[in-house]
Amino acid sequence: MVLAGAISLALALGLLVEMGREIAREIDALATANSDNTQWSLAQTDVELLALDDAIDVALVVDDAEVDADTLRQVRSRFDIFYSRVSILRSSPIFASVREDPVAVEALSRIEAFLAETIPLIDADDAGLRAALPLLEARTEAIRPDVRTVTLQGVAALAREADDQRTGVASTLSLVSKITAALFFVMVVLVALLAHFVRKERTRAYQEGRTRARLASIISTSLDAIVVADQEGRVLEFNPAAEKIFGYARDEAMGARMEDLIVPEHHREAHVAGMKRYQATGERHVIGKGRVQLEARRKSGDIFPVELSISSAETRKGEVFISYARDISHQVAAERELIKARDEAVAGEKAKADLIAVMSHEMRTPLNGMLGTLDLLDTGERPPKEREYLDIIRASGRQLLYHVDTVLEISRAEAGKIVLAEEPFSLPALVRELVESQRGVAEHRGNALSYLVETGGTDHVLGDPTRVRQVLLNLLGNAIKFTRNGAIAVEAERLDDSEMIEFRVIDDGIGIDAADLDRVFEDFVTLDTSYTRSVGGTGLGLGIVRRLVKAMGGQIGVESTKGEGSLFRVRLPLPSIVRSATPSDRPETAADGVSEAAVVAPMKVLIVEDNRINRIVLRDLLEQDGHAVDEAHDGQQGVDMAARTSYDIVLMDISMPVLDGVAATRAIRADEARGTRLPIVALTAHAAAVDKERFRAAGVDDILVKPISRQGLRAVLAGFSHKGMRTGAPAAATPAVLDRAQLDDLGSALGAGKLAELLAAFRAEMTDAVETITSRLARGEVDFGLADAVHHAAGSAAMFGATALRGELVALEELIRRGDQPDPATGPGLRATWTSTEAALTGSAERG
């Protein structure tokens, strides 16, 4: 806009100047007349010729000698004047137009000829002139028409010239009017531009005023002190915040030097040097470097910390420095307080931790003494009341010891004193054992427990099984604690072929409030609900878990929804030690290796179980598969019913009032006719190897670990479905030839190589043993020596999980020791069982 205006203005001015020059030229031409009164001059030629003629006429009539001289002089004078006039016509530029007229030129040349031939007459002496007067008169008369012609032609030529001149003047005037119009236009444009600039300037001034006002209000209301100083360090501006912070009134500060006002004395030298250096070299240390922390001085002399930011700006008066300062003495003091508090807290925490560690250790020793002494007391001889008291004392003592141990564990973890073992173990076995060990507790609260291990064939891992078990036990314990009549699952999964195993403990219990999720891993946290309170605990469990997981290089997390359950997730680096030869994706389940069991043909089933809920569950599961179900509420009832009715299978709970499962089994077996064997499956939550041994020795054919799942149940029933149940050989009636879990445990404990070595030895030994026993039975050499051999073989079989074989051997040993004669079929039965066991062992070895 301004640029366009300036350009048009420049163009207009250029045009104007050019036009002005043109006008000046024209005006010059008008102002400097280049002609005399030409017409008059021209006509004067005629007049002067007449005057000459007149003078000649006068001279002709005079004869007085004295007068004569005078008249002759007149003639001469008049001739000269005429001559002079003609010479003007001939040479003057103003008659140039006349000289261009051919007629006039012709006449003029005749006039000049007249003059030329007349001069000698005029210049002659008086007598000569007098003599020539008549001739002179004749010539003068003769030339008059020519003079007339020149005059008339000249008038015409000059009139034309005048016309041309007028036309020129008219065009000049027209040009002047155009220039005037142009000038007017330019003036209008200039006025418009001027008005525009004036308006702009006014707007700018207004805005500048507003900006200035805004700036002033910003400066005056700023919470930070703003001090503006010139290059000498003299204060140019000192805002209200600066007054407040530094204690000087604005009037005091204005014009004073910064170093005298607010720079502490011990910094003054450095400040002055810094200013000098900046002025000399332009090198900046503080200016424009953002926030720096410095010390400043108040009017009272107090030195206090400020956060300072200095920038510089160019003004008309030279460079100025704008400092923004914030009093941070409170902040600095608060920081100092905070650091002190933290140091004290850390020291206190350390002292507390030390105290706890020492106390726990010191408490442990007397507690152990107490509990040991309690065990020495022979409770059997005490009256029942006292026995009860002692039990309470023992239980309380153990609880106390557990708590102390927990605290000690924490202390050790805090001190980084957790020593981790690194040994091979079987992940599925660990999980299964853990789950089974807790099944009783879970069932007590009505919880169904299941587990799933998916390692992609990398069951055997390297790590600290004790710690892993501790972690999982803690999580599982919590899940059981906070779940009633629900389902709890323990899952283990290898993450994408990595070293990481993810364990998940999932329950559908009370869940954790979102607000508490972050706190659950903290020490001494027991969530404040009545339910939790009823459950109790030190609140250290998850704290220990967190530390253990961290120590093992893992991670732990939790997801939970209040009222819907929780999912604890632990990831631990547990590298695989053996890659399975035949990798199997088959997940290990509570059904002990059977992933999908088919429904078997309808069977007649007796349930011996004191727990009503368990009975209902079992009955439902069986009836849904089409089986006929009878129930017995305790062991004795079960024995009675088995004697009265013929069943395809008995499901026997172990712990029951009146007669427990083991005793009931023994009773049934004792009543059995020779050659018949009613399949009895023990139902138990306690699946420790030693217990299993006890059950089998009593005559249990298989063990079903609670909680009972549909799949597990079907798998077990399938094992007995197509057997000649009452006629089948004992070996055939035994479904689980090989307890793989037992074998796995052994493998974990010994390592795969060692296990293979031992297995080879076991197979050789057992083949010999079975052969020896069979042949001695055939020869009828039944004595205590045979019983010892059988016992030894049973021990070996138990060691390697050859359950069926062991069962038969144990039964045989009992028989011999009772003094009974063994069945003749026992020998071949043993051999058959061993053969199938060997086959299973071979399969197992292949499986890895």
């Binding site: 400097t32 280049n34 040479s91």
Partner: protein, 169 residues
């Protein structure tokens, strides 16, 4: 515009003469070229002041180089400045009436008579001017020196064949 030069040449002798002339005007001894009458303080022939060539030269002369509208090319005129002439005769009028041999007459305001202004020329291109050559005296303004001297009024005042001057109050 063609250039114009104005040169003043005042000899020691003429200066002395002029000093003397202030006291009294010498009578003309040669042919009288100019007769001045009217309101004048100095006379040498009755009520008139008559000038011959010598008297005019005695007043001090100047040279004007200029073109004119009546002549062809640059001309050199030498003569007495009108202002000097009027001073010499102690003229006290406001108007000069110039009268020529050819009976032409024109009024010249005394105000025109300034230093560097018009002269009463008696030499053109170094030669005396005859009557045929618009002599013997010709009032010449320095036309080329200023556009002010290029008007018709000035041309009309440039009287040639000057014979007499009447100083009018």
């Amino acid at each position: 515009m063609t250039f114009c030069t104005l040169a003043r040449s005042l000899t020691l002798a003429s200066a002395l003469f002029a000093a003397g002339a202030a006291a009294a005007l010498e009578p003309a001894e040669g042919e009288v070229l100019l007769t001045v009458t009217g309101a004048i303080g100095q006379t040498n022939a009755g009520d008139a002041a008559e000038f011959d060539r010598a008297l005019l030269e005695g007043l001090g002369t100047v040279v004007i180089e200029t073109t004119t509208i009546w002549t062809d090319g640059l001309q050199t005129f030498e003569g007495v400045e009108l202002v000097d002439l009027l001073a010499a005769i102690e003229a006290e009028g406001t108007n000069l009436r110039g009268i020529a041999h050819n009976d032409y007459a024109v009024d010249i305001p005394v105000a025109d008579a300034v230093e560097g202004g018009p002269i009463v020329a008696f030499l053109r291109n170094g030669e005396a001017m005859s009557l045929r050559d618009k002599g013997p005296l010709w009032v010449i303004y320095p036309f080329d020196s200023s556009p002010d001297y290029q008007s018709e009024t000035i041309y009309s005042r440039s009287i040639w064949q000057l014979d007499r001057i009447e100083v009018q109050p």
